[in-house]
């Protein structure tokens, strides 16, 4: 089995899956009907992307695991998403900050992946990038509206931006899997995405009258399966039926 490719696909798939799962918590509870619909759209896009990545991962592994077996029958230590996406939805400012940090990175990463030497990755990324462009546009818009809205919304938005900042470093981290993928032309040098990402953050925060958080310390571990405590609960909920009734078709 091509372990580098498999791990790489799991990372992409798990990021989308877990963020989609988090976003879907809002369905029926959004601050206004139009947002309920928009958040669900984003959740649906990410779920669709997760299914492409995980199905491909299953094929590469060639051990009989399809998208569902990978999604529902792995435990926390085998999930490869970054810590950022598993963070709780919190208030709308936390959801927006989490989404913006991710979208700004995701759009850049997908742009690079759309030139991947692996044709299947390039095709998935090309389709996903169009969706990510819309997600980013939307999250930029909300960062600005909440940042430059009322005193309360400004305060909440700044708190959320600060609280989640320490989970952004991992997006640009290169480990041995990323380096091997880069060498083979499968994926980009993630470190090189940091500068354009930072430009997007600075420009958006300036318009939102928000401070770019100054924290230097970055949490890491998700990509190698060392997660925050929150992921276990996300999985317990998501995997319940498959775990309670093993081997059933749904």
């Amino acid at each position: 089995m091509d372990n580098v490719l498999f791990e790489y696909l799991l990372r992409s798939g798990d990021n989308c899956l877990i963020l989609s799962q988090r976003l879907s918590e809002w369905c029926g509870h959004g601050p206004v009907l139009e947002e309920d619909i928009a958040l669900t759209n984003v959740a649906l896009d990410l779920l669709g992307q997760a299914r492409f990545w995980l199905s491909y991962a299953g094929e590469v592994e060639d051990a009989g695991r399809d998208e569902d077996k990978l999604a529902f029958l792995r435990d926390t230590r085998d999930f490869r998403n970054v810590l950022l996406v598993e963070q709780p939805s919190g208030d709308y400012a936390h959801t927006t900050a989490r989404q913006f940090y991710f979208d700004a990175w995701h759009y850049l990463a997908l742009g690079e992946l759309s030139h991947s030497s692996d044709g299947r990755i390039a095709a998935i990324a090309e389709k996903a990038r169009k969706e990510a462009a819309y997600h980013l546009e939307r999250s930029v818009d909300w960062i600005i509206r909440l940042g430059d809205g009322t005193e309360e919304s400004h305060h909440r938005m700044q708190c959320a931006a600060d609280a989640l900042w320490m989970y952004t470093g991992e997006l640009f981290e290169m480990d041995e899997i990323d380096r091997a993928a880069e060498e083979r032309g499968i994926g980009p040098n993630l470190t090189a995405l940091r500068a354009p990402w930072r430009v997007q953050v600075e420009r958006t925060f300036a318009e939102a009258t928000l401070q770019v958080p100054a924290g230097q310390w970055m949490q890491r571990g998700g990509k190698r399966g060392v997660h925050t405590e929150k992921l276990g609960y996300v999985l317990a909920e998501m995997q319940f039926l498959q775990r309670a009734y093993p081997g059933s078709q749904w």
Binding site: S24, C27, G28, A50, L146, G149, L241, Y245
Partner: protein
């Protein structure tokens, strides 16, 4: 209310209705017609919004990624239906804010069916199959109702509901062909959702207080009992196909009538739920109140931003 001041001759109005001419927002209409429509359309909109909750309860626990995607899309459709219906009601001179306020204050009703809990995954199947099935039967005639905006909104809604019903039936089919535990889950869901689904067509004709006038105005084209019979006749063969048993010992084909006979509906239970005593009445309303309250600062921020930056001039990204 653009047209509230215009005097309406009730006979002329009735003649238009009888001639099958659609009433449009700017047309003169009797106040009672307007009020009836606002009540009915807003109740319908609220039902879509509250109806998101019991199904939304299973989105994060859907058993496969495909089922999760379908359920997310379905619940999103319900929110969309709420949006069209609020817009249709707004053409009658009421605002969405007022309607939502009435809902949250407990003054406006929504479909009582959503005050039952979704306890297992099979409930998602049963809701699609039975609840959306009942809703379609109630709603298809509304596509031909006398008020133009309502009729047009219903055309689109009915198309989507038909898809919803099919996905619900498909969940039930998969479960009923699955393991013994899954089949039991499906049967249990049918047992719990059957009678409430029959109640969705409303009180029996003899007890329905709004029916006669609504039928005259062609807001309603069939009586509650006619619609209920249609639902039963349509659903019994589907249950047979699934190999599930409808929980009604009196259910029997009546060759003389050409319809199924069925047992007595427990109208006390229905009245109790309408009055707020259903298993989830408090929870459902509280969920809407919390979403509205917790979202207030977001809506205020959006309004404040729009005021500071008129014409929505910004564009970065």
């Amino acid at each position: 209310m653009a047209t509230a001041g215009i005097q309406t001759n009730p006979d002329e109005f009735q003649e238009r209705i009888d001639a099958g001419i659609k009433i449009e927002p700017k047309d003169a209409m009797p106040d009672a017609y307007r009020k009836t429509l606002i009540r009915q359309i807003s109740q319908h909109a609220h039902s879509e919004i509250v109806g998101q909750l019991p199904e939304g309860n299973w989105i994060t626990r859907a058993p496969s990624l495909k089922r999760k995607a379908i359920l997310l899309a379905k619940v999103q459709d319900e929110a969309g239906h709420g949006l069209y219906l609020y817009s249709a009601a707004e053409t009658l001179g009421v605002t969405r804010e007022q309607m939502i306020e009435d809902l949250l204050a407990g003054k406006a009703k929504y479909s009582s069916i959503f005050n039952y809990p979704t306890l297992t995954w099979a409930d998602i199947g049963a809701i699609g199959w039975l609840v959306d099935g009942s809703a379609i039967i109630n709603q298809i005639p509304i596509c031909r109702c006398s008020y133009g905006p309502y009729a047009r909104a219903m055309v689109r809604i009915c198309k989507e509901e038909t898809f919803h019903q099919r996905q619900g039936f498909e969940i039930m089919l998969t479960l009923s062909r699955g393991t013994a535990e899954q089949k039991a889950m499906a049967q249990d869901a049918l047992n719990r959702w059957w009678w409430p689904s029959l109640m969705m067509h409303g009180p029996s004709d003899k007890d329905s207080k709004h029916s006669a006038q609504s039928m005259k105005w062609k807001i309603k084209l069939f009586s509650n009992d006619e619609l209920r019979q249609k639902f039963v006749d349509q659903t019994v063969p589907q249950a047979e196909f699934l190999g599930l048993t409808i929980p009604d010992k009196e259910l029997k084909w009546n060759p003389e009538r050409g319809h199924y006979d069925f047992g007595q509906i427990d109208w006390d239970e229905f009245q109790n739920i309408v009055q707020g005593n259903g298993p989830c009445n408090q929870e459902r309303l509280q969920a809407r109140i919390s979403a509205h309250r917790d979202g207030a600062w977001v809506r205020e921020a959006a309004a404040a931003y729009a005021q500071k930056h008129p014409r929505g001039a910004r564009r970065s990204a």
